[in-house]
Amino acid sequence: MDDSPRTVPPAAADIGVDPLSQGDLEIETYRVVRSDGSFDAERVPDLDDEDFRDLYRWMLLQRIYDERATKLQRRGRLGTIASGHGQEASIIGSGYALSRDDWIFPYGREAGALLLHGLSMRDLLLYWRGIEDASRMEGANVFGMAISIGSHIPLATGKAWGLELDGEDAIAFANLGDGATSTGAFHEGLNFAGVLGVPAVFFCQNNQYAISLPFDEQTNAETVAQKALAYGVDGIRVDGNDVLAVYNAVSTARERALEGTPVLVEAVTYRRSAHTTSDDPTRYRSGDEVDEWEERDPLARYRAFLERTGRWGAIDEDAIREEVESEFDEAVDAADAVEERGIEELFAYLHEEMPPELERQLEELRDLLEERPDMYEFIEQRPKG
């Protein structure tokens, strides 16, 4: 038994083994509008002027929302938040391509898409203020925020499965980042979706970073889109700073999904802000890079398109801005007006029927609070967020 080779002869060069390499792949990045505002006329989606205006409005809303929310956070009136700054075209282009009947699985940066989907801004602010009620996502087909990265992807597969079984004309739409693609949950969720052939679209905003990790260290794959091949689902790579391209890509993906082919869409974009309000990006990336992407600003590009196509004249940016600002003001006021929750809230909602032990725990806490009514005053007194 000991005569087996201890060293191996190198394989001869001419034996003809020709591995499949990603270099063999050609992956186009779909684009409609070039950075200077020039565009491929055939690809311009067939939308009303109002829609073209709305797309701009919503991108602007996303931008203003992020700015104002960040300020609120700095003033201690929101918890940690994650901004979509720089990703407006990806967020709005995708959100705009969805039906209200679709189910969105958010992961944090897509405020505009959620609001567009019917969520109230008040609730979104309450969520970032750390108030569970807001996760009810009332009136909108929106799941709880997937703070545990990737954990929602198998849920989206299950939801899509349910939609399919019920014959509904709607999809499950999972938002995710490039980092999420490295999780086991992503893999198992996409693979199973592929096997089931359910109406799910997995929308990855490849914003080049997962906190400090650049995309080229997240995976050795050159694109996210090619990961679709591992599951036999379709992959689309789209310029994520081109709102019309994203709209087209997601519309197409949605149709394919409804026909039984799940789609992984990669929107190539850039996170221009810090990861969250707790992050300092100067530790890990250059200002030059940030500047470069500033030049590819999605709003500016879309505005150039609107100008070239004569649509800009009818758009009153200041009016939109004002409208959005006051919408935000109102949302903050509405959020502030929400009543403090009682400690009962803590114990409710975990079970349909509260188990005796949990009731006992609530009782004990109530008793103690009667004795020491000021025990938690420090909580009620501190800043919101």
């Binding site: 569970e132 799941f143 709880g144 198998p154 299950g158 499965w161 349910g162 949950a185 693979n191």
Partner: protein, 322 residues
């Protein structure tokens, strides 16, 4: 009908699949082959491939997609082939299944069951014999149920399927086929969250669950002159504290038997509960008879690991004669 635990589970699945067309069964090898233990045998033929499906080798996706389906108004009954393969899906239990209702203030719920055979004693390969009910029972919002008899297996499984919240249903595979009893035809339920007194007695309370229940009964049977009260816990969480404390109030002595490793095992919670409520009635320290603080050995020695009736007898004798 005269049934083993496997028969009872199979029967419960048939019954509830008939009752409620929102139920779905899926997992590895559950459809075409009827399950590696045949628990799901016949379901595919009766209910078709829309409701009975084989899945890829993806525990995360099995549990995670069950949550997604459940929020859509289905009642998924997922199988994890052996409890040793549940850890890959632990995150889905903790992060999603157990708290979807909580996270959405009741807007979305996860009425789902994850069935899994657990425990040692069938001479299976490594990682096929784990008992981690203590860890799962510590996850708030997750019901953990463990039947020990055919009657309960059917009745509790039907309850689990109808439960509005997620249930991890751990099946003592060691006694899958070794016990038979008559169980009712058609549907009936046994409540979750309620322990059962298997044998009344005055001298000592012995609490156990799953396959260990039967080792306990054997041990109690072997002991002359000890009038033991035997409690089958049946549900790890939520815990039926009353039945336990009532019994110990009467007997003043207690032994807990479980197969999982001792340190951090669920016996701790039971002892803490007894301490909370009936400490002053205790006439002796509560004994634990458990697996040792090691992984379950491979098949040649696995039986040394599993609590054996003599170990239980010894513990009962020690407690009673304290």
């Amino acid at each position: 009908m005269n049934a083993t635990i496997i028969d009872a589970i199979n029967d419960a699945l048939h019954a509830e699949m008939r009752n409620d067309d929102r139920t779905l069964v899926f997992g590895q090898d559950v459809a075409e082959s009827g399950g590696v233990f045949r628990a799901t045998d016949g379901l595919l033929a009766e209910f078709g491939s829309d409701r009975v499906l084989d899945t890829p080798l993806s525990e995360i996706a099995i549990v995670g997609s069950a949550v997604g389906l459940a929020t859509h108004g289905f009642r998924p009954i997922a199988e994890i082939q052996f409890s040793g393969f549940l850890p890959p899906a632990f995150d889905q239990l903790v992060t999603n299944a157990s708290r979807i209702r909580w996270r959405t203030r009741g807007e979305l719920t996860a009425p789902m069951v994850v069935r899994t055979p657990y425990g040692a004693g069938v001479r299976a390969l490594e990682h096929h014999s784990e008992s981690l009910e203590g860890a799962y029972g510590h996850v708030p919002g997750l019901t953990v149920a463990i039947p020990s008899t055919p009657h309960d297996a059917k009745g509790m499984l039907i309850s689990a399927i109808r439960d509005p919240d997620p249930v991890l249903f751990m099946e003592p595979k060691h006694v899958y086929r070794s016990l038979r009893e008559d169980i009712p035809e058609g549907d009936y339920t046994e409540p979750l969250g309620e322990a059962a007194v298997r044998q009344e007695g005055d001298d000592v309370t012995v609490v156990s669950w799953g396959a260990m229940m039967h080792k306990t009964l054997e041990a109690v049977d072997n002991l002359d002159g000890v009038d033991a009260e035997v409690i089958d816990l049946r549900t790890i969480s939520p815990l039926d504290r009353e039945t336990i404390t009532e019994s110990v109030r009467k007997t003043g002595r207690c032994v807990v038997v479980h197969e999982a490793a001792k340190t951090g095992g669920f016996a701790g919670e039971l002892i803490a509960t007894i301490n909370d409520e009936v400490l002053l009635y205790l006439e002796a320290p509560i004994e634990r008879v458990t697996g040792f603080d090691i992984p379950v050995p491979l098949l040649s020695m696995e039986d040394y690991y599993v609590p054996h009736p003599p170990r239980i007898e010894e513990a009962i004798t020690k407690t009673v004669s304290y």
